[in-house]
Every structure is written in structure tokens, then in C-alpha cells.
Amino acid sequence: MTTAVTSESYHEITVNGMPLSVSPNHSLIQALWKSGHPHFKRASCLEGVCGSCRMMVKYCGQSEVRFVLACQSSVEAGMQVLFPQHLEKQSSALLNHRYQLPSSGADEQRLHDLFPQVAHCRHCHGCTIACPKGIDVEKGITLAHEGKLKAAGDLFINCVMCDLCTTSCPENIAPNYVALFARRTTAFNRPLPDNLAARLQALQRGELTINY
């Protein structure tokens, strides 16, 4: 288990408005666990890839509220933490796109059909600011709008699908899903790699068997 402490001191923070004493040198999730906080279910991988443990945080002495992944954030004295539970319903309500691969017709057009809101981007940077992985989300949407699907998708290599960009968009664009569509169609449309194609054919011809 991963929560041994050597220090006896505690940090005072607030969680959903309630004061809490937590051990320092811990990630936010470890600290919440250790303090016996009972109302926290959004944790899974603890490595910053599942996007589950998103939280709103205001650090002591700073005015802006930030979105963070709690497993990737250390406890700091005086921080205010809010579980953005209201976002859960909001993000699922925003997802109306339906498609199957291969998508019929040109993917660039299909993207606009599936995500018509892409054309309405206000360039407010809200999505980019919200991204806990530092992705230039807004640029991705611009590229997608211009039909540059591969370039748009490539910006989202680090995306963990936390939906924070989606919930922060005033035009109800779902940027991470736009990017995922771009990535999936890019992968699907790529010619089958030679080494894989050759092996598939050899297997089909029955040339490769296993004996024991």
C-alpha cells in the first residue's frame, strides 16, 4: 500500500466546503482516503490515464479555479477542493453523436454532420484552460473544422477522455469526442501496413502452423 507517512504534520484544506486535515506529501486521492473521506468514488487508475478523478481546485492565494486530476495533484495547505459532480450528468447529456466505422462518405463532412457545433467555436480558450493534460484543445477544434483530421487527432495523443473540455464549452462542442472521431477515422483509413498484411496472407494460406 502506498500511503506511509513520516511526517506528523497535517495540512488544512476544504473539500466541498468542509474543513479537513490531511497528510502532506500525498496525492489528493491518497489524502482523501487517508482522512477517511467517505464520499469519493471517482478513482480508478491512479496514474493519470483514466480521467476519472477530475476535481476543481483553488490554491491558497490564487484567484482562478483549476481543473486537475486528483491522482496527479499533491496536497497543498489551504487549497479548496470541489468534486464537480454536476459535470457528470452534463457531459453525458452533451453526447449525441452516433457513428460506426467505416463512416459513410467523406470523413471531413461526416465530422461536421456529427458535430455541427464545431463551426460555432468562439475561441474562448475555455477548453484549453480546462484540459488537465495541457492539450491545445481549441487548436484541435480549429484543425478539425478545417478538415485536417489527422493533425487534429495528433494533438490529442495524451487525452484521457476526462470530458472537462466538453463540459467547459459554451457552444456544447465535445472536443475530446471530435478528436477521437478524427483519430479513429485516421487509423481506419490508413493502408494496412505491409508487415501485417503479409503475415495475414501467409496465415490465410495456411503456411504458418504451430506444432507441439
Binding site: 500500500m1 502506498t2 500511503t3 506511509a4 513520516t6 506529501n25 500525498h26 496525492s27 491518497q30 482516503w33 487517508k34 477517511g36 467517505p38 464520499h39 469519493f40 468514488k41 478513482a43 480508478s44 487508475c45 491512479l46 496514474e47 493519470g48 490515464v49 483514466c50 476519472s52 496527479q72 459532480q85 453526447l95 452516433r98 457513428y99 460506426q100 466505422l101 495523443i157 495524451n158 487525452c159 484521457v160 477522455m161 469526442y177 477521437l180 483519430r183 479513429r184 485516421t186 487509423a187 481506419f188 490508413r190 493502408p191 494496412l192 501496413p193 505491409d194 508487415n195 501485417l196 503479409a198 503475415r199 495475414l200 496465415l203 504458418l208 502452423t209 504451430i210 506444432n211 507441439y212
Partner: protein, 530 residues
């Protein structure tokens, strides 16, 4: 255990050395394992006292859980809401999602139930890659032979053969779902070598192979009109008819705080492993929900299990800083050229020997005074990444973004400083016995992925887990959908009655522990959590 060199001192003594000598290759892997690998310690094995695997060896912590009582009774069942589906899939990682997709493609109505959210799993954390023999110099036969050898010839050969031959088609299927892989300049899929193998057979996408796979499968599942998903709904018991066949499951919705009975013609268990049981007090690389639930459910229903005393301790878990202890550092980094170095600056093992051997070698260094020690008493050895950076500048940043973000969080500069690593509980080698169609010994119950056993023998090689989950996940989906509806669709807990009777007969004491665990004790995420 000898004390080893304190971390601060070892850090001062560390020098980058491109010509580090490597100790002569181990002649006797068996002796090394016998002396140092946790699986081989005699107190890590006791005979089970009840159930179909009675008298079989099992890890004591797992034995206590498998033989623990259920939290369920007939009253709960009677009061629960009823849900009908053709296929119930339990677990929404790679195996569960691919099973659901294939079952849905063949026309079945699928309910995909998961303890956390769709995609929350060990799959999403997989870094190294997926094995498939596709290079001209490589053959499926070599893949087969090396899987068997690394597993100490304890695998079910038929299952391994099928999986290995599935490999290239699995990759093609994943690409068709929209998954990206790294390509070389000629458009071929990039490959690299896994420990314990002779050919470049690992396909990957950066060190995000699992994340990329899961992003794509999750979206494919979401987009499929035949699949319904139930998040935060762990299965707490399977259901049976009077012939003992599996006919559904009892789910508990954490959000609504109520039970539901799911009636299904087939149930696919794809619930993953048990790293969060922290066997022998080890840290783990697993996600929070990996608590061995599937083994408990299957065992109570009477399904046969195997190799319950065999686990993989991945050689390179982060040992310092302590708050991140157990976090995995991918074998891909060793495959690329990072070295394992003890406190004396010696390379003590072939970094690409099989995982169990590398793990035992690290534990040997620590126990013989050549480790690097922490104030907590835990020890580790260096993973020398500066050497890799010197030899292949830019390699780390380009191919291992997940690793770099881990280093940022740990405040370690991997270009100039080595990382302290020690083994971390990573994988359950055994599991539920299955045949080629993923059928268990209980009709109506199928298994795929880490919860099943027989493929990896006593030690798994890198990249075979991702191959297994898709290969067997797809087969489970197809076989479950093809199964005809049984005549007797009664849903009861008759098997639980038998199980409780056996507990009584053998005088199994209530330890206060009930199975399935659902969550580790320190994650205070109980049934009342919202």
C-alpha cells in the same frame, strides 16, 4: 535482509557509465527463482479446504477470500428489480468491451456491467504493447514456444496456440475499430522485443498502448445500439438454476444503492485481476478495482480455477517517492536500452530475461546488501535511464510520454538521474479454467482476460496480456452469443446454499471478510458513497 546503501549516498555515488560490465548470464534460473521469487516461498501456499479446488495450493490471502461468505441471501434476490438481457458481460476493460462488441455484432442484446466506469480497468494502464508475430524473421511457432518457456511449460498449449495464431487478426480488428499504432517511415508497424523472447514482436502506440486501445473500444461500445452499459454496478453474486448452470447475476448499483437481478442466457466474466489485494504486502501497479472479484464469484458457483499460487511481480515498479510506490515503469524502457544497476554500479541480470527471473534477481541484490535502501526499510535498485538517453538521445521523450509525465510528478529528471525501482504486484497468472471457446466448467459462464487462467503458465511475457484480452474477449463474445437459451431459466442462489453448507462442514470461521471485496480497505469508497 542486508541493509544496502542509503538512497542519498547511492545517489551521490551514481555515475553514468556506457560500458558497464554485465555479470555473467545466470546458468540456473530455477535456483534464483527458488530462493528469491515470492511465489516460491513455502508460506505463500496453502491447500484450499472447500470448493472444487479443494486440496489445491493457493495463496493464503486469496484462499481466505475465496472461502469467505457472501453478503447475499434469497431475500435480497426476491426484493431486487429484474432486468432481462441475452448476454451479461461483467467487467468493462479490454476483454469485456471486445466481448460485448462481438456479441452485439452477432445480434445479441448485451448488458455491460462494471464496478467503476466503462473503460476503468488495468487495460487502460497497459504501457508496453501487444504481442503479435508479424515480422518476416519471426514465426507464430516462436511466439508459441517463448510463451510456453517463459511460463515454465505450465500453460494450456491449445489455448496458447489459438491466441498466437489470432495475433495478426487481433491487430487488424483493433485497427478497424480505429486504434492507432506506431509506424516506421515505410508505413510498417513498429515492433520491439519483450523480455524472454527472441524476436521483435511487440506492437505499440507510444507508451499509451492500453490508453489508445481503451479510448477506441470505449467509444465503439458507446456507439453500439445493441449494448447497454451499467457503470458503478459491481456483480456481487452469480445466479444458477437447479442444474447448476449460470443464469445471470446479482448486481449492486452504488449510485442508486439498490440491487438488481440480471437474467441472461450467457454470462461473460471479464473482471480482471487482484493486485489491490496487495499480496505479501507488495505495492501494486493495478487500478483501484482490481480486487479479484471474478475469482470469488466463479468459485462459489463451482467453476474450477487453476494456478492460484502464481502471480507476476513486475520487476520495475517505482520505489521512490513513496507516495507513488508501485507505479509501473514499462518494460518497454528496458527493451529500448535502460539498464538495471545495483548500488555498486553493476549490471546484475540480463534486463530482458523473463519477468519472474528479473524480479528474483532484484530481490537477490536487495537481500545480499547490494540494494539501495529507503528510510522505510524497503529496498530497490537503479533503473538507469540516463544511459538510454546518452545512447539514444530523444528516445525517452518521443516514445515514452506517460513515463515522462510520471517523472514530472515524481520530480525526477530521468535524463540525468536513475530511478529507484523494486518489484510491484502486477498480474494474476492463474484464474478460471477455460477451453478454446472461453467456456468455464459451468455451462452458461464464460471467462476472458486476466480472470481466466491457463494461458501464461507461471509467468507472463510482456504484451501477451493485451493480446489475450482481445483474442479471448472476441471469442467469448461470439461463443456466448451462439449459445442456445437453456430450457431452465430459473435464477436461484442454490449454489450459495451448497457453498455455505460446505463452509459449515469444514468449520470455516467468519473472519469478518466478505467476498467479493469490491474495493481495497484503504479506499474508503463504501456502499454509502455517492
Amino acid at each position: 535482509m542486508d541493509n544496502g546503501t542509503p538512497l542519498e549516498q547511492a545517489r551521490c555515488e551514481y555515475r553514468i557509465d556506457l560500458n558497464r560490465p554485465q555479470r555473467a548470464a545466470e546458468k540456473e534460473h530455477a535456483a534464483l527463482l527458488q530462493r528469491f521469487h515470492p511465489d516460491y516461498a513455502s508460506d505463500n501456499r496453502i491447500p484450499l479446504t472447500i470448493g472444487v479446488n479443494r486440496h489445491d495450493p493457493c495463496h493464503p490471502q486469496l484462499a481466505a477470500l475465496l472461502q469467505s461468505d457472501s453478503q447475499t441471501d434469497e431475500q435480497t434476490l426476491a426484493a431486487a428489480e429484474q432486468i432481462e438481457t441475452e448476454i451479461l458481460v461483467i467487467g468493462a476493460g479490454g476483454a469485456g468491451c471486445s466481448a460485448a462488441l462481438v456479441a452485439a455484432e452477432s445480434g445479441a442484446d448485451v448488458l455491460l456491467a462494471t464496478k467503476l466506469r466503462l473503460g476503468d480497468s488495468n487495460t487502460i494502464m497497459a504501457e508496453g504493447g501487444i504481442q503479435a508475430s508479424i515480422e518476416a524473421g519471426d514465426t507464430p511457432q516462436a511466439h508459441f514456444d517463448e510463451t510456453l518457456r517463459a511460463g515454465h511449460h505450465c500453460s494450456n498449449k491449445q489455448l496458447v496456440k489459438q491466441m498466437v495464431l489470432d495475433g495478426p487478426a487481433v491487430i487488424q480488428w483493433l485497427i478497424q475499430q480505429g486504434m492507432q499504432f506506431d509506424h516506421d517511415q515505410r508505413g510498417n508497424l513498429c515492433t520491439r522485443r519483450a523480455g524472454g523472447t527472441s524476436a521483435d514482436r511487440i506492437l505499440y502506440y507510444r507508451d499509451y498502448t492500453g490508453l489508445e486501445m481503451m479510448r477506441v473500444l470505449r467509444e465503439a461500445v458507446r456507439q453500439h445500439h445493441k449494448i447497454n452499459t451499467a457503470d458503478y454496478s459491481p456483480a456481487v453474486e452469480l445466479l444458477s438454476n437447479c442444474s447448476g448452470h449460470c443464469t445471470g447475476a446479482l448486481l449492486y448499483s452504488i449510485e442508486q444503492q439498490k440491487y438488481s437481478v440480471v437474467n441472461a442466457q450467457s454470462v461473460i466474466l471479464a473482471s480482471g485481476g487482484l493486485g489491490r489485494m496487495h499480496l505479501n504486502g507488495y505495492p501494486t501497479s493495478n487500478h483501484v478495482g482490481a480486487t479479484g472479484d471474478g475469482l470469488v464469484l466463479a468459485y462459489r458457483l463451482g467453476a474450477k480455477l487453476q494456478a492460484l499460487d502464481s502471480f507476476q511481480y513486475h520487476p520495475t515498479g517505482l520505489a521512490w517517492p513513496q507516495t507513488l510506490a508501485g507505479t509501473l515503469i514499462t518494460e518497454g524502457i528496458r527493451s529500448a536500452g535502460a539498464q538495471l544497476v545495483n548500488s555498486r554500479g553493476e549490471r546484475f541480470i540480463d534486463e530482458l530475461a523473463p519477468r519472474d527471473v528479473v524480479c528474483a534477481a532484484i530481490l537477490r541484490e536487495c537481500s545480499e546488501g547490494r540494494g539501495i535502501s529507503l528510510a522505510s526499510g524497503r529496498q530497490g535498485v537503479w533503473l538507469d535511464t540516463p544511459v538510454l538517453e546518452q545512447q539514444q538521445p530523444g528516445m525517452l521523450a518521443k516514445h515514452f510520454p506517460k513515463f515522462i509525465s510520471l517523472c514530472d510528478k515524481a520530480k525526477i529528471d530521468p535524463y540525468h538521474s536513475p530511478l529507484l525501482v523494486c518489484p510491484t504486484l502486477h498480474y494474476q497468472n492463474g484464474g478460471v479454467v477455460i477451453n478454446e471457446a472461453c467456456e468455464t466448467t459451468i455451462p452458461g459462464l464464460f471467462c476472458a482476460g486476466e480472470v481466466s487462467g491457463g494461458i501464461h503458465g507461471k509467468n507472463r511475457i510482456m504484451g501477451n496480456a493485451l493480446l489475450e484480452i482481445i483474442s479471448f474477449g472476441r471469442r467469448a463474445g461470439a461463443a456466448a452469443a451462439a449459445r442456445e437459451m437453456p430450457d431452465n431459466t430459473e435464477r436461484s442462489l442454490a449454489h450459495l446454499e451448497r457453498f455455505r453448507h460446505e463452509r459449515q462442514q469444514h468449520n470455516i470461521k467468519n473472519s469478518g471478510q466478505q467476498g467479493p471485496l469490491l474495493f481495497p480497505h484503504y479506499a474508503s469508497f463504501n456502499r454509502e458513497s455517492a
